[in-house]
């Protein structure tokens, strides 16, 4: 065991992949510049050269499409989008092409491409520099969506994503980069076998999150103990295909559910988790109506006063959970 920060864990995953697999290369904007992607890719271009770490023109669509094309020819490219907002230019390559390729061609070809997209919000960045659109992508069959909440997952799920034979959207969060935790050695996992994990055991309520929202749940759980509430925290980790067993079993035990998500409310991840859990458990186990803590259905503001009201925080989660009792 050793201490490792989330941002550095991502960098370690890149190094592990680049060291172990000659078919891996990275393409995207800002890869030769330290500020674009925080601590997560520092000096990789110097270590592995510009042929494997390709800083790119401002062409999200073509670069993502090119990665899909290279994947169809046996490579395992990682496309980096330093902000999720810009990823929207690449929707066709991801949603129409990569996600459908195996199915629509009868399972004869498959693009093993990883699209890494960073949620980068706060700091008055506003409506087009703040979005967390993971739920959109999790709606698309054929596209695996991964959202790590811990340094170990940030590293091991990136490795699993790149070595997965399907297209994967890997979503990491700048608000987690400084999170430091104990990590073990690299564990090579099959992404198809990965599912939600209980991060904290509790008996009174189930909190469900993914990525940064899992951190909010963990912090809220700590505070809730002061009120005598023992919260169980489930980290979804893989949003698509969504495996509901772990959260549903937890809710069956606790009888209370609060889902926390950094995306919008309507047709969002939180609503999907609530519906899927309840379909499975039935209403009788519920001791209170389920709750969700999400962004309000509004674009991100800039002014710090509005930002503070916009993003869920530990207090918002704690208040919501208390309403279940």
């Amino acid at each position: 065991m050793r201490r490792l920060r989330y941002g550095e864990a991502i960098r370690e995953a890149f190094m592990y992949l680049l060291d172990h697999d000659p078919k891996v290369f990275v393409i995207g904007q800002g890869l030769w510049s330290p500020w674009y992607v925080g601590s997560s890719m520092t000096d990789l271009d110097k270590l592995y050269g510009p042929e494997r770490i390709m800083d790119s023109p401002v062409s999200e669509l073509a670069c993502t499409g090119a990665a899909v094309g290279a994947a169809l020819c046996g490579y395992r490219p990682i496309v980096v989008h330093p902000r999720m907002d810009f990823l929207l230019y690449a929707m066709d390559s991801i949603v129409n092409q990569a996600a459908k390729w195996a199915h629509m061609l009868g399972g004869q070809a498959h693009p093993a491409v990883t699209v890494r997209s960073i949620i980068n919000r706060g700091g008055e960045q506003g409506a087009q520099h703040s979005q967390a659109l993971h739920a959109w992508f999790a709606h698309v069959p054929g596209l695996r969506v991964v959202m790590p909440a811990t340094p170990e997952d940030a590293r091991d799920l990136l490795i699993a994503a790149v070595w997965c034979d399907d297209p994967v959207l890997y979503v990491d969060d700048r608000w987690l980069y400084e999170l430091e935790e104990d990590v073990g050695d690299v564990t090579v996992r099959s992404l198809a076998e990965e599912s939600p994990k209980v991060r904290r055991h509790g008996t009174d309520v189930t909190l469900v999150g993914a990525g940064y929202s899992t951190r909010l749940c963990m912090e809220a759980a700590k505070q809730l103990t002061l009120d005598g509430i023992e919260a169980e925290v489930v980290d979804l980790r893989v949003l698509n295909p969504l495996s509901i067993e772990v959260p549903a079993e937890s809710v069956a035990r606790t009888g209370r559910l609060c889902v926390v998500d950094g995306g919008w409310r309507t047709c969002g991840l939180a609503g999907e988790v609530m519906a899927s859990v309840l379909e499975r458990t039935g209403p009788r186990v519920m001791r209170a109506a389920p709750k969700r803590v999400t962004l309000p259905d509004a674009p991100a503001p800039t002014s710090r006063v509005l930002e503070e009201a916009y993003y869920p925080n530990v207090d918002t989660v704690v208040r919501a959970v208390k309403e279940l009792f």
């Binding site: 023109p57 290279a70 020819c73 390559s93 199915h103 009868g106 399972g107 070809a109």
Partner: protein, 349 residues
């Protein structure tokens, strides 16, 4: 230097109906071109007939009248090249050597189809001959071909990628981004623009300020040629030269082949009632028939007589009929195919 915006005589339907120039070409190659063009035409005619009768439901975009382009391009390709098509790709698939019966089974939605009955006419696959896939999202595969070219360069065996697209795709941002990437990184990708002057019902004059698509490639510093797309020899010669450059690592290139589709945007009808000048021009474009023009040239050079041409057509017609009959008897995809192919090898379901 000013931009050459217009095609000029190449787009003039009253010109270019003479036999093609076959001087210096290998007779065996010419016979192969002719046979392939006839095969594509007969195959698409039967598909069109079966769309009309209701037996085929998947949207079929027919390339009748445009056969020379795919045949001319494919003559310089090898199975390790990486070819991507679009919505009108039966010809691309067949010209590369994709299996006829598997194409028919695919448009019929059968399990033995080239995409296992999961794709229909608009999603064809024949990896063993280098046809990596076709899609109907306009320009959707152009960036994929750029990536396949990047992979080919990394592989270092001189393979190339080919992106087929139409004049309408030149109006998509994806094409311009792709041109920029390919030119910047000097990737071995051949952009093949089949300029048939129409995107669906809309003539190019209503969509672009010029009708010569090669100008966009030139703007990216790419080697670009505009040729008569109904002249299989001109296409084959031009592609041979461009592919040579590509295999030597001299960067991307484009061929714009000017042509005209005889049928509507989708389906078997001629659609002579839609679009600017279509009814008048179609009559003239039929005189530029790529099959007839090659056959006439070969007849003049005593490489073909009417009898052997008729025999060739009969043989192909039989081949097509037999393949269709077998495809019609093929089984439907199993119900589990609905979910088992969403993820590779069905994992994760």
């Amino acid at each position: 230097m000013s931009v050459q915006m217009h095609l000029g005589v190449l787009a003039d339907p009253s010109r270019g109906s003479e036999p093609v120039d076959i001087r210096g070409e290998d007779p065996g190659a010419l016979r192969a071109y002719l046979r392939k063009m006839v095969l594509i035409r007969r195959a698409e005619e039967i598909i069109g007939d079966r769309v009309a009768s209701g037996e085929v439901r998947t949207p079929c975009h027919l390339a009748i009248g445009q056969e020379a382009i795919a045949v001319g391009v494919s003559a310089s390709l090898r199975p390790t090249d990486r070819v991507f098509g679009a919505h009108r790709s039966h010809s691309h698939y067949l010209a590369l050597g994709g299996d006829l019966e598997a194409l028919f089974a695919e448009v019929l939605g059968r399990d033995s189809g080239c995409s296992r009955g999961m794709g229909g006419s608009m999603h064809l696959y024949a990896g063993h001959v280098g046809f990596l896939g076709s899609v109907p999202i306009v320009a959707g595969t152009v960036p994929l071909a750029v990536g396949a070219a990047l992979a080919a360069r990394k592989d270092g065996r001189g393979d190339i990628a080919v992106a087929y697209f139409g004049d309408g795709a030149a109006e998509e941002g994806a094409v311009h981004e792709s041109f920029n990437l390919a030119a910047l990184w000097k990737l071995p990708v051949l952009f093949v623009c089949e300029n048939n002057l129409f995107s669906s019902h809309l003539h190019i004059s209503l969509r672009q300020p010029g009708d010569r698509v090669a100008r966009f490639a030139e703007a990216h510093g790419m080697e670009a040629r505009t040729v008569d797309g109904n002249d299989v020899v001109a296409v084959a010669r031009t592609v041979r030269e461009l592919v040579g450059r590509l295999r030597r690592g001299e960067g991307p290139a484009m061929i714009e082949a000017v042509t005209y589709r005889w049928r509507g945007h989708v389906g078997p009808r001629e659609d002579d009632d839609v679009g600017v000048n279509r009814s008048r021009d179609l009559v003239l474009w039929r005189r530029r028939d790529p099959v007839r023009r090659l056959a006439d040239a070969m007849a003049s050079a005593r490489l073909l007589d009417e009898e052997s041409f008729a025999e060739l057509q009969t043989q192909v017609a039989e081949e097509v009929r037999d393949a269709w009959a077998r495809a019609e008897k093929a089984p439907w995809p199993p119900r589990e195919a609905l979910l088992s192919r969403v993820y590779w090898h069905g994992r994760g379901q």
